[in-house]
Symmetry: C7
Subunit: 88 residues, 7 copies
Amino acid sequence: MKVKPLADRVMVKLEKSEAKTAGGIIIPDTAQEKTQQGTVVEVGDDKEVIKVKAGQKVMYDKYAGTQVKIDGNEYLILKMADILAVIE
Amino acid sequence: MKVKPLADRVMVKLEKSEAKTAGGIIIPDTAQEKTQQGTVVEVGDDKEVIKVKAGQKVMYDKYAGTQVKIDGNEYLILKMADILAVIE
Amino acid sequence: MKVKPLADRVMVKLEKSEAKTAGGIIIPDTAQEKTQQGTVVEVGDDKEVIKVKAGQKVMYDKYAGTQVKIDGNEYLILKMADILAVIE
Amino acid sequence: MKVKPLADRVMVKLEKSEAKTAGGIIIPDTAQEKTQQGTVVEVGDDKEVIKVKAGQKVMYDKYAGTQVKIDGNEYLILKMADILAVIE
Amino acid sequence: MKVKPLADRVMVKLEKSEAKTAGGIIIPDTAQEKTQQGTVVEVGDDKEVIKVKAGQKVMYDKYAGTQVKIDGNEYLILKMADILAVIE
Amino acid sequence: MKVKPLADRVMVKLEKSEAKTAGGIIIPDTAQEKTQQGTVVEVGDDKEVIKVKAGQKVMYDKYAGTQVKIDGNEYLILKMADILAVIE
Amino acid sequence: MKVKPLADRVMVKLEKSEAKTAGGIIIPDTAQEKTQQGTVVEVGDDKEVIKVKAGQKVMYDKYAGTQVKIDGNEYLILKMADILAVIE
């Protein structure tokens, strides 16, 4: 299954946040801060608006986008305007 | 009865979500996650805005659109802008 | 009394929803789902926006428009933008 | 005292709603439905927007406009956009 | 002290509302209806928007503007768009 | 330390409100009305929008702007649109 | 790790607020006022909108932007429009 975002949307694969503290204690899911980072996997076809490309790591606005689960991985479909920065 | 969406609207037939867990237990309706996926069945006539066509599978924004029941099937009439991605 | 909607507005006669179940039990008014369907009876004169005409059956956005009662019948005065689809 | 509405505003004289039931029982004010009908008495000078004239009966959006009391009569100063329909 | 409103703003001197009933009973302040009438005393310099002039009596939108007290008198600084009508 | 407001913003030094009544009684801070007056000290460089200059006394919209404390004095950084009037 | 803000966004390094009173008493975190000051470290590439550059101290709107923690330091990714003033 391939998901192709439309127009000014970008699909981002979420990073699994490290679920252990420095001392190795496992943190349950709700106690973890959302990372707000991910890797672009697909972009829409609005070339004038889209300024990122597949493979780039990005930071995005908290609460932005729609979460999607595909084959056990979590993705976020975001508008380009909700992407704050590229991580180099 | 044929329903023809107007302007920038798209009519999507909702997928029946799988109501059984892997172990075969039936999940009552309220415990199921909304799928947010469906198949386009009709599109409005705003050619400049409409970028999907009948037969395509799409993902859409949660809470978007107006639900309609025709002959026992559930449909959603959405604005094109609420369609996030095409599933290929 | 003739009511002529203005500009981009459309006047729709509401269908009386079937107040009996299959088994013939009468459902009191508050337990019935609003139908969201009606027949266009008059349209405003904004030709560029108005895309429906008298006699057509239409579906409209829930909660849209202003309800009006004329000679015991119920009507809704809607903006064209609140009409979702034409029923053919 | 003459009140001249400005720009795209219209002044409407409210109809006194019939305060008796068919059987002649007087209904106290709070139990009456607001009529949402009135007669245009003055219009602003924005000729491009104003599409009604003094003497016409109109229906208007519930909760629209500002109520004004002049010499014991009740008026409503509305924007043209809040007038739904003309009653002929 | 002279206060000169800016751009599309208008300064209106509020009328002291009659604080006695017909029978001469003094009504405490909170029981009085706000009059929503006043006399224009100064206007901003946005000639295209400002359609009233000093000396004219006007009606304005309830809750509009910012109240100002100068030398014991009450004034309201309003946007032109909040002025509903001129009283002639 | 010099603070230079950007674009259409204006920096205003707040007046210390008189904290004594006519009889000389000191009023604690919370019982004082906010003055909404101040003196312009710096303006942004958006010449087309900025219509006030340093030294002018102005009135501004209640709750507008961001308060800043510099060397024990209180300032407000406001958008030009939140300045209601110039006091001459 | 280098974070490059997009379009009209600016990345600001927050100042550690002085956590001691004049008398040397340490103030716990929640009792400190947010400083709303920081130093620009990176800017987006929207040259027409961006009016600050790396190294400049700026004041910004309370509650604006998205907080980011990199290598133990706190940063804020802001839209240019949320930067109120430059501190010289």
